[in-house]
């Protein structure tokens, strides 16, 4: 956009200057031509080329021309073998044949700038006709000023127009980008402002808003379908589970109790999968953003490390959470807690006994950076993308749903941040970045 505007201005400037110089030099050339023509005319009048050369006759015609109204302002000099024989102007230096210039240094009375045409007439006679160009030069100066003011203001107006245009377009684009950013952040209720001017911009904004309206409808529909499916399936599933539970405690079914409880466990896993799906749907809808408040991450990290301390101890893991400075983000305390707990639980569940899990929290300009690092076996680089995929599982046949990390990623996104997996050499390092509200150093 800026490059385009600058290029446009550059070409406009070039074209304007070329026009100005073109007109200037063309005018200059025309005037020069007119002067030359006039000198030639006067010279031919005094000494026509088709008659025999005669000093007396030429001198007589010169005298006539000097009195004539049309040619009275011209200077004439007739020389014979270098000696001045007639004329109304005195010139000390010899003049070259053809057109040349005279100026104040030639000390011609009343002349500062002029042009001279010298013709060899034959028999040693030479006729010089001099015209004063001072009025033209004055006019030239005025013309330069006119050009400067005229073309200068054209350029200034073009610059101002381009700047204004750029600002207006930029304003509109910024308004649209803000809307897009807000929508990207999950606030689908945002619309591009319309000023009612029915301009092309307004019509574009309206079209954009219509598109957003349609997208919102589709998203709502999809959300309803997901919610509906999850709810509709959960209710009968819960009923089935309760029936299995009743059955497991029936004395008549005592022999099958273990297998009934296995079936009940499967039902429980399905129920928790639906819970996870609905939780992700809730997070992705962005509805929770309406109730964000200032949350100190360092407190959540400390609490989560403590909450999972007993579990980690039993499984032989060690959780280290070095105290960190207060780091405040705008967010949902429950979701952020779930995010941290999820990350630590993942490390506890998927690394062998004896693994060290380090919870880190540090400020970077504008960001709160949370890391969960373990020195376990890690995830191969090629499998990391799959670990973040909602339905991707790293090994077939493993129990549980694959929504742990995707949920963490959803929660990070809801808060305007992101999630990254990296090699901790050895082990896995999970980094969550969240935009910081403020921190204390």
């Amino acid at each position: 956009m800026r490059a385009l505007t600058l290029a446009f201005l550059f070409f406009f400037l070039c074209a304007t200057l070329a026009t100005a110089f073109g007109i200037y030099f063309a005018t200059l050339g025309t005037i020069d031509g007119l002067v030359a023509k006039r000198l030639d005319g006067a010279s031919m009048l005094v000494a026509p080329p088709d008659e025999p050369v005669s000093t007396q006759r030429i001198a007589a015609r010169m005298a006539l021309a000097m009195r004539d109204r049309d040619t009275g302002d011209l200077g004439f000099i007739l020389t014979e073998r270098g000696q001045r024989v007639a004329g109304n102007v005195q010139l000390d230096r010899p003049l070259p044949p053809g057109l040349s210039r005279v100026d104040v240094a030639d000390r011609i009375k009343g002349l500062t700038h002029g042009r001279v045409l010298v013709r060899d007439l034959g028999q040693g006679l030479r006729l010089a006709v001099i015209a004063e160009t001072e009025p033209f030069d004055d006019y030239n100066r005025a013309r330069k000023q006119i050009y400067l003011i005229g073309f200068g203001s054209i350029i200034a107006i073009a610059l101002a127009a381009a700047t204004t245009f750029t600002l207006i377009v930029r304003g509109r684009i910024v308004a649209m980008r803000r809307t897009v950013d807000a929508i990207f952040d999950g606030d689908l209720s945002q619309r591009v402002p319309v000023d009612g001017s029915d301009s092309a911009f307004d019509r574009q904004a309206e079209a954009f808003n219509r598109m957003l309206g349609r997208i919102t409808e589709l998203m709502d529909d999809m959300g309803h379908v997901i919610n509906g499916v999850a709810h509709e399936l959960r209710t009968p599933l819960a009923r089935l589970r309760n029936q299995l539970s009743l059955l497991a405690h029936d004395p008549q079914a005592a022999a099958l109790r273990d297998r009934i409880e296995d079936a009940q466990g499967e039902a429980d896993r399905l129920l928790s999968l639906f819970s996870a799906l609905l939780r992700i749907a809730e997070v992705e809808s962005g509805a929770r953003r309406a109730h964000f408040s200032a949350v100190d991450l360092s407190e959540l990290v400390e609490d989560s490390a403590e909450a999972l301390g007993a579990v980690a101890e039993e499984s032989g893991h060690r959780i280290l959470a070095p105290p960190s400075h207060k780091l405040v983000v705008s967010g949902d305390g429950q979701l952020l807690t779930q995010m941290i707990v999820n990350l630590v639980e993942n490390a506890v569940r998927h690394t062998p006994s004896g693994t060290r899990i380090v919870l880190g929290l540090e400020p970077q300009p504008g960001w709160a950076v949370l890391t969960v690092t373990d020195d376990g076996p890690g995830i191969a680089a090629k499998d990391r993308a799959r670990a973040l995929d909602r339905f991707g599982r790293l090994s077939e046949g493993a129990k549980g749903h694959g929504f742990g990390l995707p949920l963490v990623a959803s929660i990070a996104r809801l808060h305007g941040g992101g999630l990254e997996l990296a090699d901790a050499g050895p082990g896995l390092k999970v980094t969550v970045r969240l935009p910081m509200l403020h921190g204390e150093q």
């Binding site: 309760n242 819970s275 996870a276 939780r279």
Partner: protein, 255 residues
């Protein structure tokens, strides 16, 4: 190969195993409950299960009917759906409280709608359960709620007492048989919750909400791990284990 990432993803209450309440140490109390639910099959199942637990139930299918029934009969507790035809659950709750009807209310909210829970509690509900409701969970919450309401309070405002266990929430100290218990923050909060509901079952979900402040179900058995820790500290001097595991429900501290 690392195991798949499959951390906890939601706030389902499916973690409590089974629905049968073992009778030992658990006193069934017959209560008159009002169920306000427009989904009839669901309401029927709920009624059946609560009757199995020994309660008497009445059913209202919308908010206005609920208001009429509340004004003509006395209920021990109301189980109120958040979304109802004619008069919304929140409106029913407000109207009850405005009319000085202080019957305990358990709100039923849809899963994945955390806001409904907050609205319910702000509107004056005493507790909430997430649909589809686990009958054992609901029954435990009914008892815990009524127990808390009728708390005659052994000890003063300053201390809580259950059997030989004494707690001082203000001083953050606990004793058993006069001996100081050295408890960490979470262990102390867990014991407080158990003492407050002594002789009543407390579910895993209730403990997660009240001790850990979680509205989701973790993927690890962190409640069990802390109960084990607490048991070790409570029996350090050879005393009997006061925490009873109630199969399919949760835990109970016997006074």
């Amino acid at each position: 190969m690392r195991f798949p990432w499959r951390g906890n993803g939601g706030d389902g209450r499916a973690g409590v195993q089974g629905t049968i309440i073992e009778s030992s140490g658990y006193m069934p109390v017959s209560l008159h409950l009002l169920i306000v639910e427009d989904d009839e099959p669901l309401a029927a199942q709920l009624e059946q299960q609560l009757r199995l637990s020994g309660h008497e139930t009445s059913l209202a299918v919308d908010g206005r009917q609920a208001m009429e029934m509340v004004s003509s009969a006395r209920f021990d507790l109301i189980i109120l759906d958040r979304v109802l035809p004619r008069m919304d659950g929140i409106a029913v709750l407000k109207s009850l409280r405005d009319n000085q009807i202080l019957t305990p209310v358990i709100m039923m909210t849809a899963l994945g709608q955390a806001r409904q829970k907050v609205e319910g509690l702000e509107g004056g509900a005493d507790d909430y359960v997430v649909k589809p409701v686990d009958p054992a969970e609901l029954n435990a919450r009914i008892h815990a709620l009524l127990r808390a309401r009728s708390w005659t309070g052994q000890g003063s405002d300053e201390t809580l007492r259950a059997g030989d266990i004494t707690l001082s929430p203000t001083r953050h100290s606990a004793w058993r048989n006069g001996r100081t218990l050295n408890l960490q923050k979470i262990e102390f909060r867990l014991l407080t919750e158990l003492v407050r509901h002594a002789d009543t079952a407390v579910t895993r979900a209730m403990l997660l909400e009240r001790v850990w402040n979680y509205d989701f179900e973790p993927a690890t058995n962190l409640v069990e791990a802390y109960i084990r820790r607490l048991r070790i500290k409570l029996t350090e001097f050879g005393d009997e284990d006061p925490i009873r595991t109630i199969r399919g429900v949760g835990y109970m501290l016997t006074a």
